[in-house]
C-alpha cells in the first residue's frame, strides 16, 4: 500500500507508487494543504494515453484550479471514482484513499528519475 514514505515525487507535487507495471498517482500532503478545500476533481478518462509531465487532471478548490501532471507515461487504467462523490477525500487522505488515477506505465525507468520523499521535501 502506498504511503508518503514509500512513494516517489515530482517537483510539481504529484506522488507515484509503482507496483508491477501500474503506477498509482496522487498529490502530496503539502499540495493538498496548499490547495485547500477540494470541491471537484476532473479526472482523466480510462484508456487515455499520457506522457510524463502532461497535464491530465484538474483539482478544483473553492479558490483555484490546479493542474495535475502525469508523473509517468502510459495508459490510464483506473480512476478513483470515490472522488466524484467525495472530492475532499484528497484533503483527508492525500497519500492513501485520496489517490487520483492509475497508469499502466510504458517506460518503467521513468520511476527512477522521480524524487524520494526527502529530496521532494527539500524542494518545498
Amino acid at each position: 500500500m502506498h504511503t508518503a514514505e514509500n512513494s516517489k515525487y515530482c517537483k510539481t507535487h504529484e506522488w507515484a507508487y509503482l507496483e508491477g507495471d501500474v503506477a498509482t498517482v496522487g498529490i502530496s500532503e503539502h499540495a493538498q494543504q496548499e490547495i485547500g478545500d477540494i470541491v471537484f476533481v476532473d479526472l482523466p478518462k480510462v484508456g487515455q494515453q499520457v506522457t510524463a509531465g502532461q497535464n491530465c487532471c484538474v483539482i478544483e478548490s473553492v479558490k483555484s484550479a490546479s493542474e495535475i501532471y502525469a508523473p509517468m507515461s502510459g495508459e490510464i487504467v483506473e480512476v478513483n471514482e470515490a472522488l466524484n462523490g467525495d472530492p475532499a477525500l484528497v484533503n483527508r487522505s492525500a497519500h492513501a484513499d485520496g489517490w487520483l488515477f492509475k497508469i499502466k506505465v510504458s517506460a518503467p525507468a521513468e520511476y527512477e528519475a522521480l524524487l524520494d520523499l526527502k529530496a521532494y521535501q527539500e524542494t518545498i
Binding site: G36, D37, V39, F40, D42, E60, V62, K63, A65
Partner: protein, 359 residues
C-alpha cells in the same frame, strides 16, 4: 512573493497569529483564508465570522454643499438625514461605473464615504476634480482607519457585548462610538448577505476589537470566504463584475440610478441607454453538473458564444455558481453551457441573488 512591498493593515499581525494564509490583494497583504474557506463560510451563514476590511477607504466630505456634491457624483439619491447611509454607484460622463460606495450622513454637512480599497486614489482624484464647483472639503482618511466586518446571525449579539445599542440600529445606518477609549464608527452593513456590523477604529485600536471577538468565539474569515458569500448574496464586485466599461444598468443595479433627481455625472448617458435598451446584462448562472465556473469562462447557447463570466465559484449551498454578461433576451431558466477548462458544462440562467438574505 515578498510581503515587504505590500501594504499592511493594523490587523496584519493579528491575522497571521490566527493562522491567516496571507496573499497579495491589490497591493495589500491580507488573509485569503484561515483554516478552511468552507468552514469560514459556514461560520458566517450559521453563527458569526469577522473579516479584516481595513484596506477599504474612508473619505470624509464636509461643508455647506457636502450633500449637493454627493448628489452630483452619485447615481442614487443620497439620504441627507443622520444617521442614514446610502449605497450608490459613482459613474463617469458616459455612465460607466467608477466605483460603488456607501455615503453615510453624519450631519447634514458631514458625510463619511466608504469606498473600495483598489479605487481609493482614483475615487479621491475624481472627487477632487468635481469638488471645485462646490463649497466642500474632501479628506482622504483611509490610512488612519482599521475596520472589521462582523457578520452572521449571531453577529449583532456579539457586537452588543462591545457596543451597547447596536441591535436597535436600522440597516444601513451609522453611529459614532467610543470603544477602548477612542472614538470610531459602527455601521449596520456588510457584504455577505447576513446581518452584521462594520466597526471602524483609528489605527492599532482595531486590534482590541479583533482580540475581543476572537476570544468570544467569532471565527476569523478571509477573502476567499468573503468572495463566496458576496457572490451568493448577489453583490457586485467592482473591478471584476464591473470592468470599467459597464453602466449600473448593465451591471444589474438599475435601482441605484435615479433619473428623476437633478443633474449628476453620467445622467444624460444613462437616460439615453435606458431609452435605447440594453444588449447585455450581468446574469446569474447555476451549473447543472459538477464543476467550478470561474471568471473568464465562456457562456455558450446552442454551441455559439453568447457571453462570459466575470465571477464564479463553488458555493457550499448551491455548488457551481457564477455571474456574467449575457444577452438581455435570454429567458429565465434558459439552458446554456459554460466552458470550464475546455469542458462544456450544462448550466441554467437564474435570478440573483442566489442566496435570499435574512436581513
Amino acid at each position: 512573493m515578498t510581503s515587504e512591498s505590500l501594504k499592511k493593515t493594523p490587523l496584519c499581525e493579528a491575522c497571521q497569529k490566527a493562522g491567516g494564509k496571507m496573499v497579495d490583494f491589490h497591493g495589500w497583504f491580507l488573509p485569503v483564508q484561515f483554516n478552511s474557506i468552507i468552514a469560514e463560510h459556514k461560520s458566517v451563514r450559521e453563527k458569526a465570522g469577522m473579516f479584516d476590511v481595513s484596506h477599504m477607504g474612508q473619505v470624509f466630505v464636509e461643508g455647506p454643499e457636502a450633500w449637493q456634491f454627493l448628489q452630483y457624483i452619485n447615481t442614487n439619491n443620497i439620504k441627507n438625514t443622520p444617521p442614514c447611509g446610502t449605497y450608490s454607484h459613482i459613474t463617469d460622463e458616459q455612465g460607466r461605473i467608477i466605483d460603488d460606495a456607501i455615503s453615510f450622513c453624519l450631519t447634514p454637512e458631514k458625510f463619511l464615504v466608504v469606498v473600495n480599497a483598489a479605487c481609493i486614489e482614483k475615487d479621491v482624484a475624481w472627487f477632487e476634480k468635481h469638488a471645485a464647483k462646490f463649497n466642500v472639503k474632501i479628506t482622504n482618511d483611509s490610512a488612519r482607519w482599521g475596520m472589521i466586518a462582523l457578520q452572521g446571525p449571531e453577529a449583532i449579539a456579539q457586537a452588543e457585548k462591545l457596543i451597547a445599542g447596536v441591535g436597535q440600529m436600522p440597516r444601513f445606518t451609522i453611529k459614532e462610538i467610543e470603544l477602548f477609549g477612542v472614538k470610531g464608527y459602527v455601521t449596520r452593513t456588510g457584504y455577505t448577505g447576513e446581518d452584521g456590523v462594520e466597526i471602524m477604529l483609528p489605527e492599532d485600536n482595531i486590534v482590541k476589537v479583533w482580540d475581543s471577538l476572537l476570544q468570544a468565539g467569532v471565527a476569523p474569515c478571509g477573502l476567499g470566504a468573503r468572495d463566496v458569500l458576496r457572490l451568493e448574496a448577489g453583490y457586485l464586485l467592482n473591478g471584476v463584475d464591473a470592468e470599467g466599461c459597464q453602466t449600473p444598468y448593465e451591471a444589474g443595479c438599475g435601482w441605484v440610478v435615479k433619473l428623476t433627481k437633478e443633474d449628476f455625472v453620467g445622467k444624460a448617458a444613462l437616460e439615453a441607454q435606458k431609452t435605447a435598451g440594453l444588449k447585455s446584462r450581468l446574469t446569474g448562472f447555476v451549473l447543472m453538473a459538477a464543476g467550478v465556473p470561474r471568471s473568464g469562462c465562456k457562456i455558450l447557447k446552442d454551441g455559439a458564444e453568447i457571453g462570459y463570466l466575470t465571477s464564479g465559484t463553488y458555493s457550499p449551498l448551491f455548488k457551481g455558481i457564477g455571474v456574467g454578461y449575457a444577452p438581455t433576451d435570454l429567458p429565465e431558466g434558459a439552458e446554456v453551457e459554460i466552458e470550464v477548462h475546455g469542458r462544456k458544462i450544462p448550466a441554467q440562467k437564474v435570478k440573483t441573488p442566489f442566496y435570499k438574505n435574512r436581513v
